[in-house]
């Protein structure tokens, strides 16, 4: 079954629980300079005389035709046939950052050895019938994982998935 991540920006309050859960799940060692796969940002903008805040939680979007897969010169990135998550085997990664150059969302990270690491959608958890750590931790149902059918039925308003699709079509 293919899965889709989506963020309802109306519900996101930028609490960061998803990012903490991600770091915990992936043993991200921030003290050694490792960056979390999922980051939460706040944007303050003026709008018609008022100040507005937006919150976004961003990690790999697991794009359908993921540009990072074609960009990787070493064949390290590929799709999981079951979940459709963009997963990787970084054994042959040369640390060239071509994947990051292809990614419109700054998703790839690089470990101490210089090799690419990234959000794999908690592929093992999902295959075992569990929710991704970030989705499980979200207290406001902002971050969700849908099956393709569920997504078509729900088609959530103000979801980030649509924006992603639009961006990829322009590339």
């Amino acid at each position: 079954m293919k899965y889709i991540f989506d963020l309802n920006t109306e519900n996101c309050v930028g609490c960061g629980a998803c990012s903490v859960a991600c770091m915990d799940q992936n043993d991200t060692d921030t003290e050694r300079g490792e960056k979390p796969f999922r980051v939460v940002s706040t944007l303050e903008q003026g709008y018609r005389g008022e100040t507005r805040w937006s919150y976004i939680s961003v990690a790999c979007m697991h794009c359908e035709d993921a540009p990072c897969i074609k960009a990787c010169p070493c064949g390290c990135l590929f799709k999981d046939e079951e979940t459709n998550f963009t997963i990787y085997d970084n054994t042959n990664c040369i640390g060239c950052h071509s994947c990051a150059m292809a990614c419109p969302f700054g998703a790839p990270r690089f470990n101490e050895e210089g090799k690419m690491v990234k959000c794999d959608g908690c592929n093992d958890r999902v295959k075992a019938g569990l929710k991704p750590a970030c989705v499980k931790a979200c207290p406001f149902d902002a971050l969700k994982m849908y099956s393709e059918d569920e997504y078509k039925q729900a088609h959530p308003a103000r979801g980030i998935h649509d924006i992603v699709q639009q961006l990829l079509r322009q590339e």
Binding site: V39, S41, T42, L43, S54, I56, V58, P67, K70, A71, C72, P73, C74, G75, N92, I94, G95, C96, H97, S98, A100, M101, A102, C103, P104, F105, G106, P108, I160, I163, V164, L167, Q170, E171
Partner: protein, 424 residues
């Protein structure tokens, strides 16, 4: 349907795979000359520097693995002498002829070597093919080398220089150009990169056109010489277009060739049923609207994929791309996007000597060129925005998600406003 794919690199592989997804029972014949699976030319320096093992140069696996997975008929070490485009026939070196319904020319590119006195030589090296990488590595492993000259201040040249430096070899990069990465970097950015590379021990010699290779030296057209136990020629590439570029096409007009084989957004050449993809072809440069060879692994992949689907009857479009590069050398990341000769309004962020520096040139609020030292995350988003501007309007804004990630990676809001043309 019978399909022929001439050349089996990134584009050829992606095309064959795409055909198989569209046409499960079609006969796919792949003709390749090396006896090896598709290799990535970019990985040659990584193999020569021992960063990866030999098998890793072939990112799609072995020929046996590819055969087993995709059911292609792979004709290894078979030389196609000529493509008769109008009749869609391949003429082989032994004189035999076979006809096909669709033909893809994916013959790639080769290292360019201008006329040089004394070349070829046992101590002159290229860096394009797997064989080139093996030859250099084998030589370096077996032979004491004290001094080297790398001709070409290119992305390949800098990687070759780095691997020589790491072996303790005194290395000079020489180029006819005036500065490093002359087709990608702004001059001040190139000079900063040069300073950083110099501090690691590599020297540069500018305005030097190579004229000859001697026993232990390289001679330049201005009469000067540099001592060199080995010479590495990283001058550039030329598209392999000869198969279709000759005059022996059966009837009608031949395949249109400029520097590369000219294709449209469907990867069709000017002759029906004949497609081209990868480094041998000219797709659209979205910045100029003209066709141009943009020799990038990802571009070849998209082109091959598009060609394959369309050869099997689909209607896929690949709009094209813009010149862009990311180069990693000596712990430095340099990104160049667009045309570094563009003249316009300039915006910069950061200290050029600091960890993150961005310089962009815009015309009427639209990006024309971006140089970045330091952050690939910023590079990916700005490339995406560059393409968005080209596909929509000058007033295109960054979606909030991209703006936030740029800010998270250190770019301030007011600089992002400037990149958007100051319209926000």
């Amino acid at each position: 349907m019978r399909y022929a794919i001439v050349g089996f690199g990134c584009a050829g592989f992606n095309a064959a795979r795409a055909i198989r997804t569209e046409d499960p029972s079609g006969e796919i014949h792949v003709f390749e000359q090396t006896g090896a699976p598709p290799a990535n030319p970019m990985l040659t320096t990584y193999y020569a520097s021992e960063a990866i093992n030999f098998n890793a140069v072939f990112p799609f696996g072995t020929l046996e693995e590819i055969r087993a997975k995709y059911d292609f008929v792979i004709h290894s070490e078979v030389k196609v002498a000529h493509v008769r485009a109008e009749s869609r026939e391949l003429v082989f070196e032994n004189g035999s002829v076979e006809s096909f319904d669709r033909i893809l020319v994916a013959t790639g590119a080769r290292a360019f070597v201008p006329p040089i006195e004394g070349y070829p030589s046992d101590h002159a090296f290229l860096m394009r093919t797997t064989a080139d990488a093996v030859r250099l590595k084998t030589y370096l492993d077996a032979t004491p080398v004290r001094k080297a000259v790398v001709v070409g201040a290119s992305m390949v040249g800098i990687k070759v220089a780095e691997l020589l430096l790491n072996r303790g070899i005194e290395t000079v990069i020489a180029d006819f150009a005036e500065f490093l990465f002359p087709v990608a970097a702004f001059r001040d950015v190139a000079e900063e990169l040069e300073e950083r590379v110099r501090s690691r021990g590599i020297r540069f010699a500018w305005h030097k056109g190579v004229a000859g290779i001697g026993e232990r030296c390289v001679r330049f057209s201005d009469g000067t010489e540099l001592e060199a136990d080995i010479v590495c020629l990283c001058i550039g590439t030329r598209a392999n277009t000869e198969l279709v570029a000759n005059k022996e096409v059966v009837e009608g007009e031949g395949v249109r060739v400029n520097r590369g084989i000219v294709v449209d957004e469907h990867m069709r050449t000017s002759v029906f049923g004949v497609y081209a993809a990868g480094d041998c072809c000219e797709g659209k440069n979205l910045l100029t609207g003209e066709t141009m060879i943009i020799g990038l692994w990802q571009n070849a992949g998209f082109q091959g994929d598009t060609a394959g689907h369309n050869m099997a009857g689909a209607n896929r479009v690949y709009r094209g791309t813009i010149p862009h590069n990311i180069t990693h050398f000596m712990d430095i990341y340099f990104i160049g996007i667009g045309d570094n000769r563009a003249i316009g309004e300039m915006v910069t962020y950061g200290d050029i000597k600091g960890p993150l520096f961005v310089k962009a040139v815009q015309q009427k609020g639209c990006l024309k060129c971006v140089n970045i030292i330091g952050s690939s995350e910023v590079g990916g988003i700005l490339k995406s925005f560059f393409l968005k501007q080209l596909s929509s309007a000058a007033s295109a804004h960054l979606p909030t998600v991209q703006r936030m990630v740029l800010m998270k990676n250190g770019l301030p809001a007011d600089f992002i406003d400037l990149l958007e043309g100051g319209l926000r």
